[in-house]
Subunit: 489 residues, 2 copies
């Protein structure tokens, strides 16, 4: 079994681009949006009734929220919570100075060097879960790491949950594509963790997207209602391609993001005060020539930095950033864009980073090689987050005295005592001399990652599980599947 | 002619990893290094004499500097200076909130897709200077963009200076490989700018490496002496592979960097008080398995963040970071490592970024495609540095009101008025739909960069120059070359 790093506890400051005045302007403007423009809760009379009772004005499906009300309602959400894993050593703390890393979510396609680009299957899904389990720097097994398109739409969630629960012992996400599937996810957790445990603890963090601008649909809200009522965590996340689903400016986008999150978080607290939620912000820019979303751009970075500040002022955990890229291949473009986004995410104070590895082609593709490449780079984030040690050993004055002008440090006592832990080292990238590298075939990064992936998969061992629990989970899935005809819509 | 962006003026904060206590510890320790251990000035009796006269203790070639003396001497160096270009629109301000970007420096090899890896020639050199001239986000033509190995060692500097002076109108660097070559560089500038102008203005910024640890050799110091006396700028730069030329810890390395820079800057001010200098820090980590230098690592980032803080406390411009990578190819590894380093450099408050594009294989190779790829990414740094606009237009409340829940922003008035300048757009990377990209050959980033490079070179136009000046420069080079036999050592 590969040892997994504990979630990151940052020992470095956050990077903050907005000053106090800018933050106040955005907060004021967000309240104006909620009060004057309002948000739509679509096809959800119960939600409108909850809002009315809380003091909002309802007109059709439009909910207008008096200044300050959403913020007041949101204040009952916890600033930090524990998500439990079936292996307690894998529990994660979400919020505060912590950063939890989870893999790519949602792609209908997969790509690898040998098979090219193709529709994802449940076999691909399981392979990703195994890779996630084997990835030292990944703390979380994620959710829909790819869409298993060979399984009926109405049954996919069962196979996906089963894979996360049995092939990994890291924490995971629940289904959100139907309220009933969210309920199934809770039931499967009750089998895995015990009913009592689930009633008292958070064992899932699930992704609730807002239909930006300012729209909360009944599917996502239905899932949120199930999870919040069960005290399970939700990421409440605007989904924004800037210029299309939000204004084509950083300040305008931040205003909309804050308004949407305030409304969504407030609603979660109307379902159950104290339910754990995360301030989400999925934000990309757009190429105005083609309309394509663009990734790793400076504007997306600023929105993320700013959203982090707004989340901290609300006292909520923050989700953003990831291994975002628009490239079709795990090439230099993919890596520039991904590195820009990963670094920005760390410095923005992100607490939960979905999509932290494996994302390709604007999220249409989950790449096996890029999963491994990105997961390796996550090790560098761990190194950055450690900050700078300043104890006597770190000051190294003895080494400076021992070596002196013109000497070298390779053999000195301080180096010998410290070199093993001093520098982060990639387990994918090439550090060999040119001649050796050439003799070994002159492999590029994707090819090195392919070899690494094969090594990780060949050493994979299924984490131990009570056979009775495993059987009960399999039985649950089999019964559920048998209870309904396949649907592919 | 391609328009070149003005040097970057940052409108964002610096990222600072060290607190006041840590900074004071490092500053105290650096003074202890200078006082107790000292530095060596090798084969340079005049330097020893200057130090003795200034109050240092000399023992053999060892110079021990009393606490506070180096800092006091360094205080006459300017915190910001103008480097003039022959085209005044290309002048750069070095220091303060500014960031000036210059290309890769020093590789003996070049690589491109068509020709592979090979020794660099003067033809390659000229091609890089043209690419630099054509690069919108590059403010500086640099120095030894590659080593023209087909020209005699003792004559290379003449051809290199001539190329920068005639093929580009951006500012450039002088030769440092011999004091006499530094003097030739000054003389050529006197032809280009006029003798009077050069005596009154800084027209070169040159790279003076320190032989870390704590050693100042006579070649580099000889060049420094020439430049400082002529009021030309020098980057005084420790050259450190951590664990080999400095202690294997961040704090220890920062202590040595500060001690070395203090001694070097103080020495420059002994030559001529007020001579412009830059606090340099070339720092990489090491792979302790192979001894290879490693790039884009978290430890190098922290050293750069810390060195930036130390430079600002000294009131000196800061040079660090670049398109650093260890990869043999312009692939994902190259891009991860480079993006890590470029982002870190911007946030560390770097004022002069040498190697900002084109670096490959640990600096052994200048890559044509990577030059173009990196130079494109420098545009993203410009976008980040702009910070966040908060004026009424940026707040976009009218757009939010116009669009409302469920709408989209693509056609709204605010988007139409702002989309052209709202988002940075790459001129290399692929934003096309998968199908279009496939039909066009499924090109990776390096292949796209090759096409971009060819386009830039085919549209290159030599910047206008007084024919008499051009002739005088050519005559100078021809006469100098004729005055000495070729030497290849």
């Amino acid at each position: 079994m590969i040892d997994t790093a504990r979630f990151i506890e940052r020992n470095i400051p956050n990077f903050e681009v907005l000053n106090e005045e800018a933050l106040q302007i955005i907060e004021e403007n967000a309240e104006t949006v909620l009060e004057e423009i309002g948000v739509n809760f679509v096809n959800n009379p119960a939600a409108l009734e909850r809002w009315r009772a809380a003091g909002a004005t309802i007109e059709g499906e439009r909910v207008r929220i008096p200044r300050g009300l959403a913020r007041k309602l949101a204040s009952t959400a916890p600033s930090q919570f524990t998500q439990h894993a079936r292996n307690p050593e894998r529990n994660v703390e979400i919020g505060g100075k912590n950063l939890v890393l989870a893999p790519v979510y949602g792609p209908p396609f997969v790509r690898d060097i040998d098979g090219g680009r193709r529709y994802a299957t449940i076999a691909d899904f399981r392979k990703f879960v195994k890779l996630g389990q084997q990835s030292k720097w990944l703390h979380h097994s994620g959710g829909t790491v790819c869409e298993p398109t060979d399984v009926a739409v109405n049954k996919r969630h069962l196979d996906m949950m089963l894979a996360h629960m049995t092939l990994s012992d890291k924490p995971f996400m629940g289904s959100v594509t139907e309220p009933s599937r969210a309920a199934d996810s809770v039931e499967m957790c009750e089998i895995l963790f015990g009913k009592q445990f689930v009633s008292e603890n958070t064992v899932m963090t699930s992704l609730i997207n807002i239909n930006s601008p300012l729209t909360f649909d009944d599917t996502m809200m239905g899932a949120l209602e199930v999870y919040a009522a069960a005290n399970q965590a939700c990421i409440i996340s605007p989904f924004i391609v800037g210029g299309a689903m939000a204004p084509v400016s950083i300040a305008g986008t931040l205003t909309q993001v804050l308004a949407e999150v305030l409304a969504g978080v407030a609603y979660s607290q109307l379902i159950r005060p104290g339910a754990p939620v995360i301030f989400g912000a999925f934000v990309t820019s757009i190429d105005m020539n083609s309309g394509a979303p663009t990734f790793g751009t400076p504007e997306a970075s600023h929105i993320t930095y700013g959203a982090g500040q707004l989340a901290r002022r609300l006292g909520l955990p923050f989700r953003s950033a990831g291994s975002f890229c628009g490239s079709k291949l795990p090439d230099a473009q993919a890596a520039y864009e991904t590195a820009n986004s990963l670094n920005m995410g760390l410095l923005a104070g992100v607490n939960f980073m979905l999509h932290s590895c494996g994302w390709l082609e604007g999220g249409l593709v989950a790449s096996f090689e890029k999963f491994v490449m990105d997961a390796d780079q996550l090790g560098a984030l761990h190194g950055l987050a450690k900050g700078v040690a300043m104890d006597e050993n770190a000051q190294a004055m003895d080494a400076l005295r021992e070596v002196g002008p013109g000497g070298h440090y390779l053999g000195c006592a301080h180096t010998q005592a410290n070199f093993k832990s001093a520098f982060w080292r990639s387990e994918v990238l090439d550090y060999k001399p040119f001649e050796t590298w050439s003799e070994e075939g002159g492999r590029d990064t994707a090819t090195l990652a392919q070899a690494r992936m094969e090594k990780l998969l060949s050493s994979y061992v299924e984490p131990a599980m009570d056979p009775a629990v495993r059987e009960a989970l399999h039985d649950y899935v089999a019964e559920k599947k048998a209870s309904m005809p396949d649907s592919f819509t």
